[in-house]
Amino acid sequence: MSTAITHTAILTGRSLRGIWRMPVFLVMNLVQPIMWLLLFGQLFKSVVDIPGFGAGGNYLEFLTPGVVMMMALFASAWAGTTYIQDMDRGVMDRFLTSPTNRGALMVSSLLYQGMTTVVQTLMVIGIAWLTGARFHGGVSGLLLLLLAAVLLTAVFGALSNAVALLLRQQQALIGISQLLTLPLMFLSSAIMNTKLSPQWVQNVAAYNPFEWSVIVGRQALSAAPDWASIWWHLGLLAALALVMTWVATRAFRAYQRST
């Protein structure tokens, strides 16, 4: 167990060193949330006027938790590209022929993704605040939003890593993540209140992990959170994150069988 923890720490350290050496990445992470917030914020500004939308008349405030989760979803769906890079560079084979803990390989990748999600989330919140959005959840609300975003990252980061280990191809991974992320995003209340959508969308959204995280985030930032809903959806996300991490760790075996 202590080996697993040590390995997780040093492998996470390696990933963080890597990002530090690619400042372009940091800039991209700053530009993206601004783009989403301003783009969607302007495009859908007047949807709040539709009767029954709710959200107290401020679309930016409605949108912000949606953008937080969107960024987490998009970034984590790409997580596997780092694995593929490591495979192409032979680094993965070296890890797998040394007593590197398999769980640590998976968890360190998710931890690193989780950390970037935290930074991104804080940036989105900061930018939204600067452009006039106000949130009422306080520090605990913010922490719950972060927790939901990190759990969402773990779910899709693990899935992306598993796909990377099974398919080993950058194009295939990117194709699958695009195929997955866009429908997940539109079958949710991230940018549009699902109460205004057809019934079937609402039904499907109930099973959408991305929607779970949006619900938690939006409730956590609201003036009167629905605590039962928050804990229930956080529980679902946590359980799914655990299962996905376990499954993805098993995928190392499949990778080695075909090496």
Partner: protein
């Protein structure tokens, strides 16, 4: 000549028995048979070389022994540990230097080494000290703090080998360790490999395309072709098995054109020599004829006379004591040089790509 060389004694560091491995061909294509009953043993503290043409199954063998890949059937032990049953324990005992680079280009040389050591369970201080030692030994100290992305091919290769040595493994796998090194760096690498086997009693499994390298370093070697071992023994034993000298004759086919006439010349030459009967194992390689004779010097005049009678011109003729090249030719059916030609082109293309970068 069996497909398995068994070396008796409890001093066996590596043993592979009847390994089979196929890779899925993908989309309806038949699977590729990479290993087809390969087996060998290597003694502790010795250098054992696997030699063979491209695609023979050398890397596949190394990957199975290093626990990266799994055999479809057969067994293998490394340092007395079964690779299928206790891969974790095997991984502590081995260093693995793959054919392709294994270092992270976005880390510095030192960071790469320290990370490898830490993953092997070394403490931070130990790992740093050992990294410094190895950087020194491979003359990389000046580059230690630079990103590996900026290393030359040879520097990166030396770092790859250093990575495999961090935790002082009992068994070291080196898959083509000197490919891409300049002659000086290659000589240094050879000296280092010899020293490690001798002073540290490390068992080293080496794959190589350089016959010279196997001849110089390996106590024993095995020639691999089509996923099985076609010959094995010490370099001396293998050469002695050939009995006699090698005879190499370059036929004059320049006058004979078109291609059909070349073939005809070659056929005439072969028929003439078959009638003469003093040459064995005749193999044609374009317009170069290779064969064996009990006494090359005595046979040569008769051979030349027979060729002249048959109307075949000769550009050059040579007699030599058997070399590992001849062993290779005998067992794989093609000369080493022609097996390598394809690879050399690919390598040169790779070098050019590197220069372009």
């Amino acid at each position: 000549m069996g497909s398995t060389i068994i070396e008796s004694g409890s001093d066996t560091a590596l043993a592979a028995v009847d390994l089979h491995k196929s890779y899925g061909g993908g989309r309806g294509r038949p699977p590729v048979k990479a290993l087809d009953g390969l087996g060998f043993t290597a003694a502790t503290g010795s250098v054992f070389a696997l030699l063979g043409p491209n695609g023979a199954g050398k890397s596949t063998t190394v990957k199975i022994l290093a626990t990266l890949s799994r055999a479809d059937s057969g067994t293998a032990t490394v340092a007395g540990i079964d690779v299928q049953r206790h891969p974790e324990r095997v991984r502590r005992a081995i260093g693995f230097v793959a054919q392709r680079p294994v270092t992270d280009p976005m880390d510095t040389g030192r960071e790469n080494l320290v990370l490898a050591g830490r993953l092997q369970g070394m403490g931070a201080r130990d790992a740093k000290a050992r990294a410094g030692e190895l950087l020194d030994r491979f003359a990389l100290t000046d580059a230690a703090r630079r990103l590996v992305r900026g290393y030359s091919g040879g520097m990166a290769r030396k770092l790859d080998v250093a990575m495999g040595l961090m935790h002082r493994p009992q068994v070291l796998f080196l898959d083509e360790p000197t490919t891409g090194l300049d002659p000086q760096a290659r000589a240094e690498m050879w000296a280092e490999i010899e020293r490690m086997a001798r002073d540290e009693r490390m068992t080293i499994l080496l794959t190589t395309h350089y016959l010279e390298e196997a001849d110089k370093l390996a106590a024993r070697l095995a020639i691999v072709d089509h996923g099985r071992i076609v010959a094995g023994g010490s370099p001396e034993e293998l050469k002695n098995e050939l009995h006699g000298d090698s005879v190499v004759i370059e036929l004059d086919t320049a006058a004979a054109r078109p291609a059909a006439a070349v073939t005809e010349t070659v056929v005439r030459a072969q028929e003439a020599l078959a009638r003469l009967g003093t040459l064995r194992d005749i193999v044609m390689d374009d317009d170069v004829l290779r064969a064996r004779a009990d006494n090359g010097a005595r046979a040569l005049p008769h051979v030349l006379a027979a060729l002249e009678t048959a109307g075949v011109g000769v550009v050059s003729a040579a007699v030599a004591r058997p070399s590992l090249d001849d062993v290779y030719l005998r067992h794989t059916g093609h000369t080493f040089a022609s097996a390598q030609a394809g690879q050399a082109v690919a390598e040169r293309a790779g070098d050019l790509a590197e220069v372009a970068r």
